[in-house]
Amino acid sequence: MLQLSANLNTYLIMAAFLFGIGFYGLINRRTLIGMLISAELILSGASLNFMAFNRFLAPDPVVGQVFTLFIMGIAAAEAAIALSIIIAVYRNYKSIAAEDLNDLKG
């Protein structure tokens, strides 16, 4: 039988870790897909936080779950939109490497 830790801090640290990886990845990844994956990591970090707080602290255990459901739904929509824009980028630039996108000097 697998025993998961019944300690809030474990989950908070885990979520902060996910957030950190995602943030680092968004800034450092070279390809758009990699950046998208990193963004998803940030969102899953937030979801994990919500579920942990929901399990250990919240007076009403429904709210956090509903919030997490919304995060998952919207994350999927976001992935679909981002992928379609990435396809549009690829058709025009023949590349999805972030360093090749330099027409605009942002």
């Binding site: 509903v66 459901l69 739904g73 999927a76 679909a80 992928l83 396809i87 025009n92």
Partner: protein, 133 residues
């Protein structure tokens, strides 16, 4: 084990069998209906793909992903199922016309996306680019 929980277990078993039917049914049907011994599939059991044309060249080539729009639609829709789970919890007080109407509205709005994709020709399988941005 009392009568009620036995009934519950039976329900679970019925749903399990139904699911299994959905998974295995197409395989069995294909097996029954598939043509055998025609020119294109006989004597080809040594090839990676045992039917169709003789393979030419390597498999590691870039191929047109005509179906990426399917993938995008699937991505959006399989998560929307999540929102139907709370429905089972929230509307647990018998059948009510109002609740039914609400769900119908929700699913109806979701299915607009399918209608849109349909009209724009996403479901037609021919090798051309559907939407040039």
């Amino acid at each position: 084990m009392d009568q009620k929980s036995l009934m519950d277990l039976l329900y679970v078993a019925a749903f399990f069998l139904g699911g299994l039917g959905f998974a295995l049914g197409p395989l069995i049907l294909a097996n029954i209906l598939a043509p055998r011994g025609t020119r294109s599939i006989s004597n080809k059991s040594k090839q990676f793909i045992e039917c169709g044309m003789e393979p030419i060249g390597d498999a590691w080539i870039r191929f047109g992903a005509v179906y990426y729009l399917y993938a995008l639609m699937f991505l959006a829709f399989d998560v929307d199922v999540l929102f139907l789970f709370p429905v089972a919890v929230a509307y647990n007080h018998g059948f009510a016309a109002y609740d039914f109407f609400e769900i119908l509205l929700f699913v109806g709005i979701l299915s607009l996306a399918i209608i849109y994709a349909w009209r724009k020709g996403v479901f037609e399988w021919n090798r051309r680019v559907y939407s040039r941005p």
